[in-house]
Subunit: 381 residues, 2 copies
């Protein structure tokens, strides 16, 4: 039997058929007129999505590559940096800063906690840092930070703000210029509805004026800025992924960013209400900002990895597991990008079927109804 | 009028429809069972193409990213290195070694010259180096080096051999293990018939034993080796490009590497004979190893950039220009990957039409015939 497949993970996320079709078109040369039109438009659309007047630098890389670019271009051995970590992706910032020999002050939280701007202010007043590395959406826990307040605390403390917005850009508000965020890093494979392989970064005037001396080449910001200024790429660009991203960004901007943010907030509300109606306990905060991924505790006696294996093998449904210390204890429903309310109800229905099959004590027959109600209510607001 | 398009550049190269179709399939999760099968098979196929028993490390990046990985993992500030440069991509090795603060000895040749193993031996005996950075196919000039001899000279001189095989792997012989080449770097968008965005590197036991201390994270070899050992990727892999690469490698291996090498040699011979029959002068060497790209001098009084613009606008044909000091003086016909003899005759026919339209003194009506003859002759050998 060929099972119909459903991808409800927070990245890579499902890609719209229009985007896949654009990627399947014949390859064009990256220095030809055909591609330059796409490339220029794609870079301009990225500026709109980042909400910045600055250039958005585009790399053929996973999101981590663009994170590394921030560390390599701004920091280096002995440079003081404050790292905020409350999950797997905060730990990635920490590992990156350590790999570059930075003088790291770690503001660590338990996985699932929400970082506090007051803590950032206190740390920076005790020990100045060149930059604060932070995560907007901690995909491992479902927590979305208050980046506006965290970035303000960084600025007031005399530090640059560097934000991992890989899973959040296009899903929740991020006003790069208006909030004065210095560096925003993102990736193609989340709310930007494109396969993985493209990473991007915006850089403020303040950050351009603060470049460091660590060795770098492929991720050197200035090299890429100069090339992009000529509507060229420093190194052979991933032309087919860029053709796809251009289409996806066009779709996102046609929807409108505010409408996209409201849509994600509604999906998050529907997922949370449905899960609670089933009798499940949320791990991610039960608040509007939790619009990227809903993390749910596995019921007593059920290893969430067993649930995910069953959903995948029996019903073709892919959810995301708990990582590291949360392995087996939570599962995560991603709802960033090319998702609508019927994806939420399908994910909830699958969880209901799976948990019931595993003998868990869940309330049957209410989750989907409640999710739809929450969705309708939020439409009326 | 919509012009039919022909891509005869040496990268990105045309991608077979089967590969494009694989990339247009619905996205799968990179940690799901469906993708692991593809990923494992793709990595094994890469070993076959690299002709190595070592792991081939796969990155979401342009080829330059994998070049940087060699510098970042093996070299660093003050580390002595010998760089061979005879064109644009040799200069890239040089720029990379300089960006990392290496103690660089530059063995520089005029663009279009073929590097000599004796020169490498002489340089290393005068000044030992940890590694020799070299280019198998210098795409900017069409010269294919004798990597077997250059790598042997490096080894005998006590240095690691690091080969940029981005445009050559799968087109001309490269016996990584049998020739004792320590590091081979390649990319998806040349003879591997996949869009740009994937880069790969093989690492010998000797090179694994000689890792350096320069800062690195995304391109850290050990991180990727450990992840790939678990059929996982260190960072979100470019799943759609990998699905395409897997199909492309399957096609290449079904053809057989020896057959692919012979095919490319035949295409090179056909291109050279056709160009000469037209009365044009070759820039790349007129020898069997010139099987990747044929570089041709523009006739007196014709700026090759004008020729390329005309071919593109009038007939939809993309060739590659001369770069840097060769700008306007040469043009290049790429024939790596998804090309056959009719692509060569089409490229030659377009050049004939274009040069004639620009008033150049070319022999009409013979190039295609001579190219087909040369192709048939080489089939009989």
């Amino acid at each position: 039997v060929t099972v119909k497949k459903y991808l409800f993970a927070p990245g890579p996320t499902p890609v719209p058929p229009q985007v896949l079709a654009a990627m399947a078109e014949p390859i064009v040369h990256h220095r030809g007129a055909d591609f330059r039109v796409v490339y220029k438009r794609c870079l301009e659309r990225l500026q709109e999505v980042f909400r910045t007047e600055q250039d958005v630098l585009l790399f053929a890389a996973s999101g981590t590559g663009a994170m590394e670019s921030a560390v390599a271009n701004l920091l280096g051995p002995g440079v003081p940096v404050l790292v905020i970590s409350a999950g797997s992706f905060g730990e990635r910032w920490h590992a990156l800063a350590q790999a570059y020999g930075c003088d790291v002050d770690l503001l660590g939280y338990d996985w699932g906690e929400t970082p506090s701007p007051e803590d950032v202010a206190a740390r920076l007043s005790a020990r100045p840092a060149k930059a604060v590395l932070m995560t907007q959406s901690e995909t491992s826990t479902g927590v979305v930070s208050d980046v506006r307040a965290l970035a303000a605390a960084a600025r007031e403390g005399g530090a640059l703000s560097v934000v991992d917005a890989i899973s959040s850009l296009g899903a929740v508000p991020l006003e790069t210029d208006a909030w004065g965020v210095d560096v925003v890093v993102s990736g193609s494979q989340k709310a930007l509805m494109t396969p993985p392989g493209l990473a991007m970064v915006s850089v403020s005037e303040r950050a351009w004026a603060a470049l460091g001396t660590a060795p770098r080449f492929y991720y050197d910001w200035e090299t890429t800025r100069v090339a992009q200024g000529k509507h060229d790429a420093a190194f052979t660009p991933a032309v087919s992924l860029i053709a796809g991203l251009d289409v996806a960004l066009g779709m996102l901007l046609e929807t409108g960013l505010e409408a996209a943010f409201a849509h994600h907030a509604r999906l998050g509300a529907a997922a949370r209400e449905g899960a609670k109606a089933m009798g499940l306990e949320l791990f991610s905060p039960d608040e509007e900002r939790s619009a990227v991924v809903t993390a749910i505790r596995s019921p007593d006696g059920v290893d969430s990895d067993d649930l995910l294996r069953l959903l995948s093998s029996e019903w073709g449904v892919t959810l995301a597991p708990g990582q590291a210390r949360l392995k087996g204890r939570i599962f995560r429903i991603g709802h960033i990008g090319w998702y609508d309310v019927f994806d939420i109800t399908t994910a909830l229905a699958a969880v209901e079927l799976g948990l019931d099959a595993l003998g868990a004590d869940v309330e049957r027959g209410v989750a989907v109804t409640r999710a739809l109600e929450a969705y309708s209510q939020s439409l009326r607001v």
